[in-house]
Symmetry: C2
Subunit: 332 residues, 2 copies
């Protein structure tokens, strides 16, 4: 069965990437800087990148779009966005009007999980959980091959699951304390490294703190890679907390695969062995034996691939619905 | 569309209940004491109860069976059981041979969740999470109207999700610490009340401890209902921990309904308001606004109803599969 031609679009805080997606591959890739000055400018930039790919690859049947935002999936409306000017925008409708083809919008963590499900061994995975460790912590859950979203598409907020009820406040847009984002995100790492640098002025982290009044997550990772014991301890602790979280998700979802991605995962050697060890000690044994826990494989274009896979799946779902009821709810 | 006639069977630690299930109702109910002396005796008792209902209600198209066990759903094999002699038993096959009709076996927490989905306002619920607070803590998750089980039917072990990484050891068959069962179960309540009674010999809990060298969960609930401040504090603390857990599940599943059942929920007035308050302070606001969090409605026969609903759904699923492929994998 030939797949319908679909495009994937990945909207990040610094660039918009678009490509033609077939299976686990993205071709005809185009990147534009993300316009943050206004909603209109951002949408114009997205359209520009879209048109450039259409020029090379032809008009698609659908476009999938991943955004770093909370999405009401059924309508494609953006409820909230942290870094980009899309709050309250009816994004699916806006883009469908501009592009003249079916558009599906989802959050970037869901798209990343869909991409991973195409990239694991024995792909596609039917049941997969992905945690994305970046500035914040995102989550995506694949159940029976498709993204799980909850009642209104607001679910799978895995980063805001508590692992230490008395832990620090979440640095994200979340009222919780001790959730995964409060303990395993780049922001959490920066908070702890800054605190430590302040307390130990003669240490490597202390010298970075003296320069900038803060120690970034990336600087902490670099210090650890150079063997600084303080930085190594912080990353081990992050690994322990991540392991607690992984055990919970294995017990809840019993996935075939649990993968950890995001910017921090590029330094996985500093925390992932500890995380696996902690998870192995906590997860129910019958479930732990059956799951593969790995670092995500998605490269630079995972967001584009995942968005394209989403569009392909939703198109097929609409075709099924049309065959059954003679109508379609697609935003075309 | 008329539902196929189905029976539901609920196997508990003290009794086996069977009834004919239609919608959210169970009729022709028969109960037999649970035979714990051997697997054979237990199966004989289940068959006896089954035959008695068939006598009154006629032969069903299928039987759903809920057991307090870890089940590999696809095969209906019991991986482990806490209180009944079913470990390693190919229960679905055994019962299908004895009954001569299609049999489906699931754990009792999943069946209870399916029953609740029929009993809530605007039933049936499409997305529902149930926590069952008894000796242990069980969980059941309904997604798109059917039970979510994970890859091999071992998922939705909600009771073993961590809420306090440094918390006490789980009293159940689980290597974790600080999981929900370690903090919100009847066993956890007994542990804390016993400790408290030991420390305060002149208190109401202390006097119970002096008599029996332990304070049971039920005795703690009674002391709290009579106004004992120590017992009230323990139940408030249980409520706080339950609220942490509820917030996590709202953030993960974004259900329409989250319900709390099990024996402890009969004393919900002592901890549920605190749990709701804590959950409201922690869950993501957009998700909290959209969820109903309540005490479960299932009465004494919820297990029978849920098992019957399961059988009805699985029969329909098989009919669909048969129409598509001309074969069925049912254990008939």
């Amino acid at each position: 069965v030939a797949e319908a031609p679909v495009l994937g679009m990945d909207v990040g805080g610094t660039k918009v990437a678009v490509g033609a997606v077939a299976g686990p591959r993205a071709d005809h890739l185009v990147e534009e800087p993300t316009e943050l000055s206004s909603t209109e400018a951002l949408l114009d930039g997205m359209e520009k990148a879209y048109r450039a790919v259409v020029e090379a690859a032809g008009e698609p049947e659908a476009v999938g779009v991943g955004v770093p935002s909370q999405i009401e999936f059924a309508t494609g409306r953006v409820l909230s966005s942290v870094n980009i000017p899309l709050e309250g925008v009816a994004l699916r409708e806006e883009l469908a009007n501009r592009f003249g083809v079916a558009v599906f919008v989802d959050n970037d963590a869901n798209c990343a999980a869909l991409a991973e499900a195409q990239l694991v061994d024995d792909a596609p995975a039917r049941h997969l959980v992905m945690l994305t460790l970046g500035t914040g912590v995102g989550g995506g859950v694949v159940i029976d091959g498709t993204i799980f979203r909850g009642t209104h598409g607001l679910g799978a907020e895995l980063g805001h699951v508590t692992i230490d009820a008395d832990g620090p406040n979440c640095p994200g847009n979340c009222p919780n304390r001790g959730c995964i984002e409060a303990l395993c995100s780049g922001t959490a790492l920066q908070r702890d490294a800054t605190e430590l640098g302040k307390d130990k002025p003669d240490s490597p982290l202390g010298r970075i703190y003296a320069q900038n009044r803060r120690v970034k997550g990336r600087e902490t990772v670099e210090a650890a890679q150079q063997g600084d014991p303080d930085a190594l301890t912080l990353l081990e602790r992050l690994g322990t907390n991540l392991g607690v979280a992984i055990a919970s998700f294995v017990n809840v979802f019993e996935p075939e695969h649990l993968v950890v991605g995001g910017g921090l995962s590029r330094a996985a050697e500093l925390f992932f062995p500890r995380a696996r060890e902690e998870a192995a000690a906590r997860a129910l044994p019958a479930l732990w034996e059956r799951v593969s826990v790995e670092v995500a494989r998605g490269g630079a274009h995972a967001g584009v691939i995942g968005a394209g896979v989403l569009a392909g799946q939703e198109l097929k779902g609409q075709a099924r619905d049309t065959a059954r009821t003679g109508t379609t709810e697609g935003a075309r």
